[in-house]
Symmetry: C2
Subunit: 227 residues, 2 copies
């Protein structure tokens, strides 16, 4: 049975981080000759079940988008100005998706290498009625510091701990309810669903789906893009 083309995607790239010394927005920096956020958008825009992609950007980037971004408009890609908090930006993207989008994926514009496998796996969970997120098991030893200091209070067991990544996938009604009830400070959308008692499933992601923030991350992303 073929799945319907009823998926909407919110790509969150509303941050205003710039290179030290000015220069373009971080999400517009090229990785292997392709702007980072374009890499983040492409696997979704090319997916057969995806009908609409809302790309949430700083307001000035929506007003005067670079040509490669403006060119995406009209192919189901919508440019949406972001809000004050991350969750405001996701909500703005969500509101820009037509009601025909029954399933919604949220992806971080600073993750330029989402895999088709992971997209399909989180999507399958959302079609089954549950929220799902890409995640990686914690492999580091974790220490909890005593409040306000640098003294170790304890080593935290990493058993059953995962690092949350994106894409995250949701039945649209569930994500909308979660955002309507949102409390400030949540660092991902799955947490909003957890807060209203919704079921959230972890989907093992591949290590290549890194978040690109620091200069070291850009070095790695360049090297990965070249291979």
């Amino acid at each position: 049975m073929r799945s319907p083309r009823d998926v909407g995607v919110v790509v969150v790239a509303a941050g205003r981080g710039r290179r030290a010394g000015g220069g373009p927005l971080k999400q517009f920096r090229e990785i292997g000759g392709v702007p980072m956020v374009l890499r983040a958008i492409r696997p979704f825009a090319a997916h057969p079940e995806v009908a609409h992609v809302a790309v949430v950007l700083p307001a000035e980037a929506v007003a005067t988008p670079p040509p490669w971004l403006a060119a995406l408009r009209g192919e189901g890609v919508h440019l949406v100005p972001g809000g004050a908090e991350r969750s405001d930006s996701v909500a703005a993207g969500l509101a820009a998706l037509p009601p025909s989008c029954a399933v919604v994926l949220v992806h971080d514009g600073a993750r330029p290498f989402p895999s088709r496998d992971t997209i399909d796996l989180v999507l399958a969970e959302a079609r089954a009625g549950r929220a799902a997120l890409a995640a990686i098991p914690v492999s580091d030893t974790l220490k909890e510091a005593a409040p306000g200091g640098r003294l170790v209070a304890r080593t935290v067991s990493r058993e059953n701990l995962w690092r949350a990544q994106t894409p995250q996938a949701f039945p649209r009604a569930l994500l909308e309810r979660a955002h309507a009830a949102a409390v400030p400070g949540a660092t991902d959308d799955a947490a909003l669903v957890e807060a209203i008692g919704g079921s959230v499933v972890l989907v093992p992601d591949d290590a290549g789906n890194l978040k690109v923030t620091s200069e070291e991350d850009f070095v790695l992303a360049e090297a990965l893009a070249r291979r």
Copy 2:
């Protein structure tokens, strides 16, 4: 006041991980033309306060070391066969350090870029009588899975959480007591000190001091070494 040359270092490189399809031990793979474990050893061997470095390796690598490793012997570098568990390997390295080493640093042989700043900072803590470890604040959203499954039980607050790295530094007597009391399963030496009630201090590390395990890590390390 000049600090005495009384520091011993244990570099733990006793793992038997190999490249897919055979090839050299992971710790002997070259990064920017220099074997990884040699990069891990050098900043310690070159430190003015370090008198001895015990490099803990698989037994066969101690029996027939590669020439660049054999050449280090006699310059205060000792090659020591490892044990079954990580803590056995550290204990073997510790036993190989002469009693004149009053302060001991432990470093992971899979971290080829320890910085001089971090070494000096953890060393200063150990000279003040406390255990210390290099660490990085957790920046990921963490999820705890329900036991034995993939359902999210909760989002774990990352406030006050740090990822433990190496080098870790200890007054020698404290580390010896901690190892004598060691329980199996500890993933770092600081945890053994915590277990006997010793004080452990977190020292903010730089992001460049990465642990090289996966193929992606080797790509990043190559790129960092080239810069």
